[in-house]
Amino acid sequence: MPHIKKKHMQIVDSSESYEDAIALAAKPLLDDDYITEDYIDQMLESIEKFGTYIVLADEFALPHARPSEAVKKTGMSLLVVKNGVDLKNNDVKLFIVLAAKDSTTHTEVLQSLASFLMEKQNIKDVINAERVDDIETILEKRLK
């Protein structure tokens, strides 16, 4: 199952805005040619259009947009903002960017992510991790 690669994970102390945080969270996917710049714009537009339901749990957001030509390869990236950033009145510390090339290939990944997110402690443990290696270990063990 295509999990989040360690090189696609980042930890920072703070971020100026949720727009900056989402752009930073998506940068590894941009650099590795999973997505184009357009996809970042589309993710931000979808928040304007549809609201903040991408904040799926306390302190967690799943920025994404619909499958499009802006996605070349299905993938996910992760960003922890230690001090949190405001996403329209939600304090978000963990971002997982979802880039889906079509509406089926990522289903399995989302199902395991859904189970992972229902355990609030899992989100807390990722946020509290000191290094990306620790996040990788947590995800390897619990994201099944």
Partner: protein, 92 residues
């Protein structure tokens, strides 16, 4: 019984919501189908209830007669379970 989980695109968040609703149904020992959909496709789906973001409720109210149950955080099992229980109570 069929529950529809709705988000803007029908690919990411609604899938997560679908899983949370299924887990809530399991914990309540209730059998039911959960299907996910995007906001524009809602009309073509027959369902007994629609679970979706509070931001979509007003729009959907104008378009469908299906009972709507708002959920703020799609992965929050307690919140979703509360709304599932409310739906089951409304069914009686």
């Amino acid at each position: 019984m069929k529950i529809l989980a709705v988000c803007g695109f029908g690919v990411g968040s609604s899938m997560i919501l679908k899983m949370t609703i299924q887990k809530a149904l399991n914990e309540l020992n209730v059998k039911g189908d959960v299907v996910n959909s995007d906001i524009s496709d809602v009309k073509s789906q027959n369902a007994d209830a629609i679970f979706t973001s509070p931001d979509f409720v007003n729009d959907l109210k104008k378009r469908v007669n299906t009972p709507l149950y708002p959920v703020k955080k799609y992965s929050d099992l307690e919140e979703v379970k509360g709304q599932v229980e409310k739906f089951l109570k409304d069914q009686d």
